[in-house]
């Protein structure tokens, strides 16, 4: 799932300095709801705080809210078309994909982000997520026992740990697991250490961001 966190309120307020009468705060009911940053609960709280802010500043701003199921599909956006169209400014509490998708649907509207889209992650405790995949486009998990060196080693090293690995933790942060420690232990436990004994070729990063903005077409469904 996409994990996001709310921007600092100071930063959001800065984005809302312009002249507008109606502000729509729009949350998303999927990933950012689950990652507790842009669901209905957060939208309502944001509305409460911003309303206080505008009245303190003596501004007449009408705040509307909605939370739609998914900002990344037009069909859901269209369900609330009127609400979007009536707004002078939209504060999106969806991920970066959602913000841009909204802009594409309503080219005449200004949409500003309330969230920082962080990474794809898994829930590790209540309110805590960890990155597990970078979306490199060329999965190597088979070889590394299901622990990704690209995502979980701070340096994405493919041939083994760097010299900064200490007692299972990464040199970058003493609370971050060393990805290679995890890979090593995992491969050892499933008797597959021979997977990493041999030299690993430089990775082809073309399928990653390095190949330019990516798009994908499922031939079975897509027009191709």
């Amino acid at each position: 799932m996409i994990v996001a966190e709310q921007k600092k309120l100071e930063e959001i307020v800065e984005m809302l300095k312009g002249d507008f009468k109606t502000l729509l705060i729009s949350g998303c009911g999927t990933c950012v709801t689950v990652s507790l940053s842009g669901g209905e609960r957060e939208v309502e709280a944001m509305a409460g705080l911003l309303n206080m802010h505008f009245s303190q500043a003596g501004r007449q701003v009408k705040i509307e809210t909605n939370t739609i199921k998914r900002h990344c599909d037009f069909e859901f956006i269209d369900e609330a078309e009127e609400e979007f169209k009536n707004a002078d400014l939209i504060l999106s509490m969806a991920c970066g994909v959602g913000v841009q998708h909204l802009v594409e649907r309503f080219p005449e509207k200004v949409v500003v982000p309330a969230l920082n889209t962080s990474f794809y992650g898994a829930t590790t405790a209540i309110g805590e997520w960890q990155e597990r995949c970078l979306g490199c486009g060329d999965c190597v998990l088979d070889k590394y026992g299901g622990v990704c060196p690209v995502a979980r080693c701070s340096k994405s090293l493919l041939n083994g740990p760097c010299g900064g690995s200490q007692e299972g933790y990464c040199e970058v942060d003493p609370e971050t697991d060393c990805g290679w420690e995890l890979i090593f232990k995992r491969l050892q436990s499933i008797n597959m250490l021979e997977n990493v004994m041999e030299y690993d070729e430089p990775k082809n990063w073309q399928t990653f961001r390095d190949g330019g903005p990516r798009k994908m077409r499922n031939k079975e469904y897509g027009n191709g």
Partner: protein, 307 residues
């Protein structure tokens, strides 16, 4: 092989116990520092590393600084990290360095940029250190670039790698070292040794895998100038093992600098006797002028000629 392009390689091949040292390039474009530093080292060491933006702090490029020091008569070892350059930049630098007569290269991953001042930098890590060694080795031995493109005039490099006896997971670190040997690493410089017992244990494992026969192991020595420096290394530098007894000893010392030299010489005396150790590598970070003193006190001066 006919004439040696690398004097360091020659000394090692001839069986000499070598002494290497390290030089941090200036944060600036001045030439004078390099000249002064070079003059101080001349005659005391068999090879000098020039670090490549160590701890991710911007400094003069390793190749440029090494070239200038070479003009002063020193045998130089360039350092190449994969943090700041991708495969294109790395190969291009190797070609340039070789053309400038720099024929020793220590291939490293590099400290993460979070240790430096440009924490907001985007890192590269297109290749890892093993891949870099292999790429350089292929350029040297096969005359091909990573893309497969052949070169009419291939570069020459005596290729080295780093090894950290104190990093984890121990076995995986060994596997990686073995991979570096297979990829073409001819010598290793180790992380600074304070815990000699652990180093001895590590060398046992190195010998078990015959790695000491396939590559030259140079033991890393980092003379500590003060208790503060020692504590900083223990706490802030990745992959260091500084025993508490040593900190205690430095704390009790009346003259920390003198004690630091004494400790370094004691460590050298112990590690040079370990089977498979073929030299030492001094890295007196921020205290480079102490190198000649230590070389003398350790009984390595004068350096033998190489015929």
């Amino acid at each position: 092989m006919g004439e040696y392009l690398s004097l360091l390689e020659k000394r090692l091949d001839k069986g000499q116990f070598v002494v290497c040292s390290e030089m941090g390039p200036p944060i600036g474009a001045g030439l004078k520092t390099i000249k002064n530093k070079s003059a101080a080292l001349l005659g005391y060491v068999d090879g000098v590393n020039v670090t490549d933006n160590q701890t991710a702090i911007v400094r003069m490029s390793s190749i440029a600084a090494a070239y200038m020091a070479k003009q002063e008569g020193l045998e130089m070892i360039i350092q190449v990290t994969t943090r700041d350059r991708n495969r294109i930049g790395l190969q291009s630098d190797i070609l340039g360095a070789s053309a400038l007569g720099l024929h020793n290269a220590l291939c490293l991953t590099g400290d993460h940029q979070c240790f430096g001042m440009d924490t907001g930098a985007k890192n590269v890590f297109d290749l890892d250190s093993v891949q870099l060694i292999k790429v350089v080795n292929d350029m040297v031995t096969k005359g091909v670039l990573l893309s497969g493109k052949e070169m009419k005039a291939p570069p020459y490099m005596f290729i080295g790698g780093a090894a950290n006896p104190f990093a984890d997971p121990f076995e995986m670190q060994m596997i990686k070292m073995e991979k570096k040997v297979k990829a073409g690493a001819r010598f290793f410089q180790t992380q600074a040794i304070y815990n000699v017992d652990r180093f001895v244990e590590w060398m046992k494992e190195v010998r078990k895998r015959d790695l000491h026969k396939k590559a030259y192991i140079l033991a890393g020595i980092l003379p500590a100038r003060s208790i503060k420096a020692l504590k900083m290394m223990k706490e802030d530098i990745a992959g260091m093992d500084v025993p508490d007894e040593l900190i205690e000893r430095m704390e009790k010392a009346e003259d920390p600098e003198e004690e630091g030299v004494k400790v370094a010489v004691e460590i050298i005396d112990r590690v040079k006797k370990v089977e498979g150790v073929r030299g030492i590598h001094l890295m007196p970070v921020g205290w480079e002028k102490i190198t000649p003193t230590i070389v003398e006190k350790a009984g390595f001066y004068p350096r033998p000629e190489v015929d």
